[in-house]
């Protein structure tokens, strides 16, 4: 199964399959790099976020929270909550990945992003190829880090990048990620409660309000789903 020529071929196939998504992530990567510089992080810290954390939304939010002076605990709690969808990806890929040797589990586990999941979750135990998955994950990791580096260089050489309204690109991106999810009443309730409470808490200058608002929205959506499920 993993004799060298086949392994290399599968790896290259995986790398080619993820190429469009690797390019589409360029604005995100540029943003992650330049935002880190804007928030007065050093280039090494900015690159370290992409190299060690490797989770776009969590990185951008953490940078925003560092800039806003949030405490360590609320940043870590937000990171945990914001990336909790990965628990579901892990659960879904458990039949395929949990039987692999430890180094493969750890390696592919580290590379398990939304994009990785989108490309590799369709295969069952017979079809799944670990080298293909490695090609997908590693290519995306390298692209993400290269675009971050480009963002760091741009952020250092172009002054007042923070005056350009780059913070709107977070809004533009998140809105584009949220809007397609709003397909049923519980999600509408979740988004509405989260939006209202986040603005209210922010208006009150409540430091950990962001996490609380998110949890309130999630709870409201969950409760609404329970009620509508009970009726159906």
């Amino acid at each position: 199964m993993s004799s060298p020529p086949f392994a290399r071929q599968a790896f290259i196939q995986g790398a080619i399959a993820i190429l469009p998504l690797s390019l589409a992530v360029a604005p995100w990567g540029l943003l992650a790099g330049s935002m880190a510089i804007e928030a007065d992080l050093t280039p090494w810290e900015g690159q370290g976020l992409s190299a060690i954390v490797f989770a776009g939304a969590a990185q951008l939010v953490a940078i925003g929270m560092i800039k806003g002076g949030a405490n360590l605990f609320s940043i870590l709690l937000t990171t945990l909550l914001l990336t909790s969808q990965h628990l579901l990806y892990g659960l879904s890929m458990r039949p395929v990945l949990s039987g692999l040797p430890t180094r493969w589990r750890l390696g592919l586990g580290f590379l398990l992003t939304d994009e990785f999941f989108a490309l590799t979750s369709q295969y069952d135990q017979q079809q799944f190829n670990r080298w293909y998955a490695l090609g997908v994950g590693l290519t995306f990791y390298i692209a993400w880090n290269l675009f971050t580096l480009a963002g760091i260089i741009l952020g250092q050489n172009i002054p007042h990048l923070d005056q350009l309204g780059l913070d709107f690109s977070i809004v533009a991106t998140f809105v584009a990620l949220i809007a397609p999810l709003v397909r049923n009443l519980p999600t509408v309730v979740c988004v509405a409660v989260s939006l209202f409470s986040s603005v209210l808490f922010s208006f009150w200058h409540w430091e950990t309000g962001l996490v609380a608002a998110g949890l309130l929205g999630m709870s409201a959506g969950f409760i609404c789903q329970k009620f509508s499920g009970a009726r159906a």
């Binding site: 954390v53 589990r105 309204g165 998140f174 989260s194």
Partner: protein, 107 residues
Amino acid sequence: MIFALIIGMGLLVFLNRYAFLEPRLPLRLSSNARQFLGFAVPGMLTAICGPIIFLPGHQLDLSLANPYLLGSVVAVVLVLLTRSTLISMLVSMAFFFVFRWWLNGNP
């Protein structure tokens, strides 16, 4: 200090990714936990966007002449029409800059 935070974040993200890949873990998420976590993306991302849109520069702005609000509306319409995150993001940013220049009179 920042690097301690980065390593902490890295560990938490890896924990989320790896937890259910561990064969020795007998646990499964309950159906309720899974449903609750299903709201994590819209709930958390909305909570992050809200203050940026409605409190630009930490000042409450609920008017329709708020470029962040107008840009967000454009982003919602575009992503629902085109189904492309990338197109919606780039075009709504362009609209945002036009709105900002037009409403504030400075670039």
